[in-house]
């Protein structure tokens, strides 16, 4: 039976039969991987703990007819415990892996894998406020998928910014001449924060105030929900108390 090996980040798991799980991962080289991990729900399982959501693993798989089978697993990054220890971070991590799951359905994995691993590591180490990490991840993941938003120049005509009308359906901010009636108007601080999150400029992003972060978060969610067609369920269940 052919086998392959890949580094992968675990997105989600589903129970299968008595003690097995179906594990969904993004592989660095193989993109989306769905594999059966046999016996991992038993307390004596040798690699059950490594195949939890938000874990990064170096794994070997048998190629199966519909689902592959996990043969061996080594841990390459253990972020689950730190993320689960803070409920706000946990809800943020769910939004990130749900988006990754949807965005990698038909795409190669490497850029998404690297972005997600970096975001989970940053989240686990609490390097930045959890909500900013989520919004930055979503904007950058959408960009990798080909839906890069524009926060300065007009997304339709390319006219130099700044512009204040934001239209998710048109790809970001648009000039007044092409803005549909009733388009959301964003202030300069929000647009500046969104640009910083997209570029990964953390110094500028962390300089923002709470109100601006809330507005940027709403814009990011609206942009992601539109481009992913079906909404992300996790975004509706974010822990707003501390995120």
């Amino acid at each position: 039976m052919p086998t392959y090996r890949d580094e992968a980040v675990v997105l989600r798991t589903h129970k299968l039969g008595e003690a097995d799980r179906i594990v969904t991962m993004i592989g660095r080289r193989h993109g989306k991987i769905r594999a059966v991990a046999k016996g991992v729900r038993r307390t004596g399982s040798r690699f059950g703990a490594r195949l939890e959501p938000f874990m990064v693993v170096d794994a070997q798989f048998y190629v199966g007819r519909t689902l592959d089978i996990v043969q061996q697993v080594d841990s390459a990054g253990s972020y689950g415990a730190d993320i689960a220890a803070d409920y706000a971070r946990y809800t943020v991590a769910h939004a990130m892996v749900e988006a990754a799951d949807r965005l990698t359905e038909h795409e190669a994995g490497t850029p998404h894998y690297l972005l997600l691993v970096g975001a989970l590591r940053s989240l686990a180490r609490a390097e930045h406020p959890a909500g900013l990490t989520r919004d930055s991840y979503l904007l950058r993941a959408l960009s990798i998928a080909g839906w890069a938003p524009s926060f300065v120049d007009c997304a339709v005509t390319g006219a130099a910014g700044p512009h204040s009308a934001f239209v998710p359906q048109l790809g970001g901010v648009v000039a007044d001449a092409v803005a549909p009636p009733g388009a959301v108007r964003l202030d300069a601080a929000t647009l500046s924060l969104l640009g910083a999150l997209l570029a990964g400029d953390w110094e500028a992003a962390e300089d923002s105030d709470e109100r601006t972060r809330d507005q940027a978060s709403g814009v990011t969610a609206a942009y992601a929900q539109f481009h992913l067609e079906r909404g992300l369920r996790s975004l509706e269940l974010q822990d707003r108390e501390t995120a």
């Binding site: 939890e52 689950g80 415990a81 749900e98």
Partner: protein
């Protein structure tokens, strides 16, 4: 494919969790070919279980009355509540014969990706049970995985009140195993939860 009712029976068994097409076919043919198999009793039980079994109005465990046998038992300690994800976890803990308190079944674990948030679990009912200050300890016995740990984290925050001790089940090495086969996550937990050995 089989004809008519046989295929219907196989399809119905195949809809049960953990039963694939082959297992469904095996069960169906066992019923068909084993003369001693009491199909009437099985049919009666299936109908009866749906009618009689409900969830305990206090703890959420399965019960045949309004409350379950554990909540009705006056010999159980009323000061300790063990919080579990599913009713089947109650049975697992009861098998240990170590715990003599009450239970609270949450009905799952927090998983935003699956649409399960705090409003979908029995957190409010738990807080209501703690209102009269009879309970002095809550033991969180959610599963030792990421989802269970996050649920425990949320509960710890929710139950942060004076006079209430909140504890979490220990996790670590399984009894009867060899240390060299333990994964690093479990072994790390065992180190974190190490305890002093009395001389």
């Amino acid at each position: 494919m089989y004809e008519g009712i046989v295929q219907e029976l196989i399809d119905e068994f195949g809809r049960l969790p953990g039963i694939g097409p082959k297992s469904a076919q095996r069960i169906a043919f066992h019923i068909l070919t084993t003369q001693s198999f009491d199909t009437t009793r099985l049919a009666e039980l299936l109908a009866e279980v749906r009618e009689r079994v409900r969830f305990c109005s206090i703890c959420g465990n399965v019960a045949e009355q309004d409350t379950c046998s554990i909540c009705r038992d006056p010999r159980r300690s009323q000061t300790v509540i063990c919080v579990v994800e599913e009713a089947k976890d109650v049975a697992a803990i009861e098998r240990t014969r170590e715990f003599r308190g009450l239970y609270h079944v949450l009905g799952g674990a927090l998983s935003p990706m699956d649409g399960v948030g705090p409003d979908n679990l029995r957190f409010t009912q738990l807080v209501q049970r703690l209102a009269d200050a009879t309970v002095t300890e809550v033991i969180i016995a959610t599963n030792p995985n990421v989802t269970g740990e996050a649920t425990a984290t949320y509960l710890t925050r929710l139950l942060d009140q004076p006079g209430l001790r909140v504890t979490r089940l220990a996790s670590g090495l399984p009894v009867g195993g060899d240390l060299e086969y333990a994964d690093e996550v479990t072994l790390g937990r065992a180190f974190e939860g190490r305890r002093t050995v009395e001389a």
